[in-house]
């Protein structure tokens, strides 16, 4: 066995495990955040503060009856959830999470594979993801599902154009298609990130709006508008097949947020030029933000543990407080800083965008369908085009 294959397999297992756990807990975070926006506690019963809710959900979904409705187109009906999840998982393969890591003299990137057309690969895979929804809608042989599938395919085709145009302008600024090189091109603090350096803030906003539509999230979740379509394209699906559509949606959210981080927000870099040296000042400066955040989180948890609202909180919150404080201390260790800090910044930026996804779901109502299409074609597309034109003119002028 080649060492390369072994290391790739290890990375594969780690990434798959972390990603799927993150997706499960993203749903918990979403329910919690929306609950707090609507002034209710959210999941609270299973585990401390509902932390074991994702596990309970998974067990529930697996053990439910897997119904195969009559009159469906069987092969396509079974194939659709598979393609939705497969395409959602596939695109994470080219996303880099951090810099080079040295383990016992062996160097490897925190990334499964670096294609020199990484951005195009993600666009291609996401354009294949449309089939999961469209075929599910058609194969279900149900009018609501069909309408949901039709809406989704039309919506995804329409929003893919502004999305691709918005992606193209930071690519012009950084002059590469590889996601890793894209990150290297933005080194040197917040002023070198594409969102500020190339003046790509418009492209960033277009990208985010189009990403909401591509992932079928509120305010563009018309494929599954409950009050008109029951549940849209997945109305006939049950058990794990239903869950796989949800998983695909959340996986796509993670991918799109990671894409936005890499394209516009400087990837895994801190907002200031960071050098991971043994110098004490640099050490403290680099670790400042994560340490402070975790110390605050730990102290808050300890305080609430000391004044518990529930009996169990006395133990669970104290435990969490200690864990957070230990994490805060870990960021100060010089050896792990080199890979832990980039990972922190990457997760922080991606997490912020994911939080925006949830926030907007808790805030905005749904668009009407004609408004949605009109917005894509009459506003977003021309603006993206104009932005691309201006960017290319500026890039040509400067170089």
């Amino acid at each position: 066995m080649d060492l390369f294959i072994i290391i790739t397999l290890i990375k594969l297992v780690i990434i798959a495990f972390v990603l799927l756990t993150a997706v499960a807990y993203l749903q918990w975070v979403e329910r919690k955040v929306i609950a707090h926006i609507q002034v209710r506690p959210g999941p609270y019963r299973v585990g401390p503060h509902g932390l074991l809710q994702p596990l309970a959900d998974v067990i529930k979904l697996i053990t439910k009856e897997d119904l195969l409705p009559p009159y469906v187109n069987k092969p396509l009906y079974l194939f659709a959830p598979f393609i939705a999840v497969a395409m959602a998982l596939l695109s994470i393969a080219v996303i880099p999470f951090g810099p080079i890591v040295r383990v016992d003299g062996y160097e490897t990137y925190m990334q499964l594979t670096d294609l020199n057309i990484g951005v195009l690969f993600i666009l291609a895979v996401s354009s294949m993801g449309v089939y999961g929804v469209a075929l599910a809608g058609w194969a279900s042989n149900n009018k609501y599902a069909l309408l949901g599938g039709l809406r989704s395919s039309a919506q995804m085709i329409s929003y893919e154009l502004p999305l691709a145009l918005a992606v193209a302008s930071p690519l012009l600024v950084s002059n590469t298609l590889s996601l890793r090189d894209l990150e290297f091109a933005q080194k040197g603090g917040i002023w070198h990130w594409n969102i500020l350096h190339g003046g790509q803030i418009i492209a960033f906003l277009i990208f985010l709006i189009a990403a909401f539509a591509e992932t079928n999230r509120v305010p563009f979740d018309l494929p599954e508008a409950e009050n008109e379509l029951v549940a849209g394209f997945h109305v006939e699906y049950s058990s794990m097949k239903f869950a796989s559509f949800f998983m695909a949606e959340y996986l796509n959210m993670v991918t799109v947020s990671a894409m936005a981080t890499l394209l516009f927000l400087g990837g895994w870099d801190a907002p200031w030029p960071a050098e991971y040296g043994s110098n004490l000042g640099a050490l403290l400066l680099n670790a400042a933000v994560p340490t402070v955040i975790f110390v605050i989180a730990g102290l808050t948890a300890l305080y609430h543990g000391a004044h518990p609202a529930h009996k169990l909180d006395r133990y669970t919150l104290t435990a969490f407080g200690v864990i957070f404080l230990v994490l805060a201390a870990v960021f100060l260790v010089p050896i792990v800083q080199g890979w832990l800090l980039p990972l922190f910044w990457f997760c922080a930026k991606t997490g912020m965008i994911l939080f925006a996804f949830i926030w907007i779901r808790g805030t905005l109502p749904r668009f009407r369908y004609d408004q949605l299409m009109g917005f894509a074609w009459k506003f977003l597309f021309p603006v993206a085009m104009l932005n691309l034109l201006v960017t290319s003119l500026v890039v040509a002028w400067v170089s």
Binding site: L76, S127, A134, S153, E160
Partner: protein, 175 residues
């Protein structure tokens, strides 16, 4: 490894292509066609032409086939009804097909140069082969905007005219 992947995806491409014709329902045919496009992209990737592979998936498997499926779904086209074939078709169909394929194979063998062959990964592989870097985005872009500038621009104009024509035709129907 390359050969195994090539064989797997070449077989998928051929089987899916046959499936396009054999299937009676338009959606099944369209899905098979996506399979053909996807496996072709993998074959391009095996040659090292990464950009072409991505373009193949984005344009054909993604955009074009989504429109096909969209239209089929909108029209709600039912399964094709098989009519009884005439005796001539049943008797001569397969032999004629074999004869045609044999002829094609013969002419391909005769007309195309023999000495030149392309290897796996050649379009990006190391070395200063003439095809080196041919499949990259840079090379394709440069070719499009220098050597093939006129055809490229004319094609885009043609597509614009086609889009306008489609809109004009569709509008007439609406009134």
């Amino acid at each position: 490894m390359d050969v195994v992947l090539f064989l797997v995806f070449a077989i998928i491409a051929v089987v899916a292509a046959i499936n396009v014709v054999v299937q009676t329902h338009p959606i099944s045919s369209a899905v098979s066609l996506i399979g053909v496009m996807g496996s072709l992209a993998v074959l391009y990737l095996l040659l090292g032409a990464e950009f072409i592979a991505a373009a193949q998936v984005i344009v054909y498997a993604g955009a074009v086939m989504v429109l096909f499926i969209f239209v089929i779904m909108l029209l709600n086209a039912g399964a094709e009804i098989k009519r009884g074939r005439s005796i001539m078709v049943q008797l001569l169909g397969v032999p004629l097909l074999i004869a045609f394929l044999g002829l094609v194979a013969y002419f391909v063998e005769r007309l195309f140069p023999k000495g030149v062959s392309v290897h796996f990964g050649e379009f990006t592989g190391p070395g200063d082969h003439a095809l080196h870097g041919f499949g990259s985005a840079q090379a394709v872009g440069r070719a499009l905007f220098t050597t093939y500038l006129l055809p490229f621009e004319v094609t885009s104009l043609l597509i614009l005219i086609a889009i306008l024509g489609a809109i004009v035709l569709a509008r007439k129907e609406l009134d």
